[in-house]
Symmetry: D2
Subunit: 385 residues, 4 copies
């Protein structure tokens, strides 16, 4: 952690062991105490005292279910916009969700980073690249272009913009209003597994790259359904498509609910459960997740409907994109509306409920499931109703 | 963590931020202080104060290079054998290496668990299964059989015995002497990513399973080079072969050095570098690593030779199997001999040197590289000589 | 082959060998003649007499480059529409291209079937399924729906409609005009490798399936760029998307040529070669070819441009979709226009040239490359200009 | 085909069609006859006359089940050894099985080549390489080394020696006796799909390569069970192991039958069916088939036992390695003993029966199943007893 902060990190400390009576524990005797002292001096810890915590019968997350209100985030980001400059060193005006049970670290969940980023009119965020995978999601607003290896990508409401690791990227706000959006990254996972690299790029991008095209080069090459440009190299590990537009996502979700309503034989099973439509953003070159470590999806719950209570290995961050409803995560429950963000810790049951009326509840979600799928450790369990 | 220990864990705490002047940092003003107070109350942390620590230019491990002496480990394990019983609850008489820079937790590295396990004559370790992947490696001794889903697998000096997640297993010592060996698991990784499951099996295995066969069923089915039993199901995610015998490993390493010496055209490149032979234990059904999260290898350095200085994403644990020599990890250097264990943190350079004379230096190694390869984050760098 | 035709097939015959002098051949002696007689009676053939033909230095196709004119095909199909009924037994009013060098068999190339299919107003083609993979491509016309497992799929000019093996399908013409289109299948490959299965379905599809929706269920689920419906099962071996619409294909090709013209850094390499745009139809669940044995693509050559001369392992069938130009295949050359079909045998060089003027030359292509890629036998060679 | 032989090939011929009454066929009228004449002149063939033959309900092989006696093959090969030299041009003294139903072509099945090769004492077969995949199997004898890219590989009774495409190879007989063995290749498949390449190498290999090592370099690097040499490049498409020795194969088969006899819980299912043991030769770098187009296996049927009647997509060639018994392929049945070869056409049921007594029946098998598995077209059906 950086010395400029007072975020509390675990101070390295010697092993300390205490002999305590209990099931599965050896008798606390002077000999045992002496053995434990020797363990301490040799940097050793027995399994038998730790197994209950270390190897539980199912995941018991250290993280807490928690909700952040969008209005409050936006206000604070706007204030940061006034007093915190953007530039080399700090790199981005991004403010991260800190899970209250993770020691004050800027981790939404043990593996995932989620932040609100804010760019003032005319501002640039300097170019850099990092091995951490990232994306942006726009819950409202427009006017910023993210420039990835020289390709300027428009950011507008409802768009999902993946940013695979080790690509140079900068942002610039070409509009007259500030713009806020959500960043998601695997920073905590990369930090914990100690696998990250970072490099600065140019301090300012070229004038030629400051264009504001409606569609990026990546979309013109890769954004046509089921069509692959023959000129492009073979299956990349992360998506070559840099923008997934809201118009497409909206239509896909609408089609699923319409198919369900029509009740046609071939449309049965179009939704995940009655009233619950969902799409996953995928790499068009592989059909797999957009990023090796991050899954991203958009969900729509029909007005008045609720989803099945489901638990899953790994953690998720959700943001309400539109509509109103309520969310239950384990023991916690919140009423939610546009922009609100909440986290679902590993193996905690989640249920979504859309408010009655006419408007569906739309939610963006990202999670770390690709990690567990790649390692054959993924599990999902739908609770009986 | 279990309440019976005093191992210090990070206590959940609120965010605490301090405005400090510095490159890339906003001016410490009252307004900034006020903003930081608001961040704290909303559970928010800015990127600009954290980026230096969170996103370094290359991995800077929290773990320390460290060495544990085998003689000391064995003595303490023997003492534990005298006063700590083995049974349900504590499950195993295993004593874990605690990296001195990881807060006293029983983690050899951020992702890997390494322990010495000890079983007295006639003792049983009760049956259980867990999603964590495991293996045993025997640096000396014999007499214990590990029983995996009813298949009794002999453990002898030099043998490598993988134990893929979610298979029931127990151990029993059929000899008249105690036996010690090394356990390796991905417990810290599973704990951190909150992806683990655990179940008890039977308290005592059947008499029929207490046999002491020379070869396990798994070896009789899968232990023939390049031959696959047609009766067995398709490519499992983790190896169906439960024992890799020293005689095979020894011969494979010897063949590489002999090919190098013979200097035949077809044998050029038989070794990793002059005098450095190495084999990886692989799943015969896939040719890939034995376990989804753990790589295991045996290395042999010819007497007097030294390896290239190499750094790699991810962490390793090494155990000297035979011979004498020295080891350099970053700034640290140790003379080593049979049984000594040391850890190599992520991206720290490692160099091995065999003592002059006639005996080669043999080392067993395990590491977390399969995680990074699966996620396309693996990097290796050989330093110029 | 069916007894109702006089298509000549190779009659099984005994081996007949003749001793002939020549390089690499044994001396023709009475002893050799006697040996060859013995080979004949034992059903044996030596390699040394056959190797020149059987194992050439590169593929020398038995097939011929050949062109079929669309106007002639359509006239004959229309005449068949008048006098040949469609129904169970004959199954389809399809008329196949017979490569002139393949013995009168209905094979466009050694591995590929290409036919014109014709359906009169109000007609149905009965339901069946087969393990052979198929597709339809519409060079002109509209009005037919193909019904795949109950999902009615509109067929219109420029659409590509894959039909993976073993799915039930029927067609019905809901319009007042006849309609013609092109069928492509791997019938010769399946016939030669003796790997095919076939089953009849219902003689008539339900009234409910006779709808004429603008978009099929498959498109509503899978036709959104980069978006995967969570309700659908995991990565199928062949595409779940049953229609690739011309509007998308046209735009993708136009984008590539526009990027080339704009000359932006990020757009360099948008085309295969100057003036030559191309897309491949892919399975959105995998990013790979739509069918395990058949690749399908659309190419656009800018007015006045010509492509590089290229040879490839395996054979292709091309159909001009729009525009005018000329085509060179090995020694053969033809002027081509809308609807004309031609075949390119294995390893014969192909070059396309668009007529000067303003209109580009658009061509649909299908080939057997996925077979060779799956077996690691694919090679492509671009000849020097 | 080569001009030096009289093997009859299908002469290219024009389409000839005849209107014949029948189910699913149009009324034979003058108009139909006129249409068929037009089809003929335009190189067109209708589906409706061909569908019965081209698209059967299940594979109906053109090939015949057939048996070749080893004693007869060996005698003829020996005679060829006396009068047919080995050298550049003819390349190999190999004599191929010609399936009696495949027009006298040197094809054991539609896709597979099987030949007896014969080398006199002191003889060399010149170096070449080809994209066709090959192997050798030795039913008896010893003394020849095959030299693959300079690596000399001993050939002895019971050994399986794969030879992946595009590797230079030569053979030399270092013994004082002639030696015969079996070659298997995918020549017919490569010929039919027109995907083959061929190059000559040196006319004579170096003296240094004429060694007669007990173990090849490939075995010393890759022949250790479950161990991968770290010095070697990543997963090749075809096996880097050039010899699978009989001692290993024999032990693997014996272990399966012994496990079955012991009846231990963990050994249940060690055999394919009671008394039927089998192993597949696999690429140790991938666990998959040794060659992309050819599967090879060894089967052992316990004395007195018989296998289940099984049919499979694709064709097989079998050779009796040892023992006596009988074989039923569809309607055909033969008594068999050492060295006898027989072919099983696609989808014909096969059943093996070992003679009563004490000796098991051992059979080597190779087939084209990897082609169908790669293309997702493989099917196996075990008939009810």
């Amino acid at each position: 952690m950086n010395a400029t902060t007072a975020v509390v990190d675990a101070v390295p400390s010697p092993v300390r062991l205490k002999a305590v009576a209990g099931p599965g524990q050896p008798e606390p005797t002077p000999a045992l105490e002496q053995l434990y002292r020797a363990f301490e001096s040799e940097m050793l810890v027995p399994l038998w005292t730790e197994i209950g915590g270390l190897m539980p019968s199912h995941p018991r997350s250290q993280a807490a279910a928690h909700l952040w209100r969008w209005s409050r985030l936006k206000d604070l980001a706007a204030e940061a916009g006034r007093i915190v400059p953007v530039g080399r060193g700090g790199e981005r005006r991004a403010i991260a969700l800190a899970n209250p049970a993770l020691g004050g670290r800027p981790y939404a969940t043990p593996t995932l980073w989620a932040a609100i980023q804010y760019l003032m009119p005319g501002e640039d965020a300097p170019e850099h690249r990092h091995s951490q995978h990232a994306f942006r999601f726009v819950v409202e607003g427009e006017g910023v272009w993210t420039v990835v290896n020289g390709d300027a990508v428009r950011m507008s409401r409802g768009d999902f913009l993946p940013q695979a690791g080790w690509n140079m990227h900068a942002h610039h706000n070409a509009a007259t209003e500030p713009m806020a959006w959500i960043d998601g990254l695997d920073i905590p996972f990369a930090y914990y597994t100690e696998s990250q690299f970072f490099e600065h790029g140019r301090n300012a991008i070229d004038q030629a790259e400051r264009g504001t095209p409606e569609r990026s080069v990546s979309e013109r090459l890769w954004g046509h359904p089921g069509l692959r440009p023959l000129s492009q190299p073979d299956a990349p590990q992360a998506t070559p498509l840099l923008a997934y537009r809201w118009a497409d996502t909206d239509r896909a979700l609408g089609d699923q609910l319409a198919l369900e309503e029509e009740g046609h034989a071939a449309g049965q099973g179009a939704t995940l459960s009655p009233g619950h439509a969902a799409v996953r953003y995928t790499n068009p070159a592989t059909g797999r997740d957009v990023l090796p470590t991050i899954r991203a999806e958009m969900h729509r719950v029909r007005a008045g409907a609720r989803t099945r209570s489901t638990r899953e290995v790994g953690s998720s961050v959700w943001q309400v994109f539109d509509g109103e409803g309520s969310v239950q995560v384990g023991e916690r429950q919140w009423a939610v509306s546009r922009g609100d963000l909440f986290v679902v810790p590993s193996w905690q049951p989640l249920r979504l409920q859309a408010a009655a009326g006419t408007q569906s509840l739309d939610l963006f979600r990202f999670c770390d499931a690709p990690i567990f799928e790649a390692l054959h450790q993924h599990r999902v369990q739908v609770d009986p109703d």
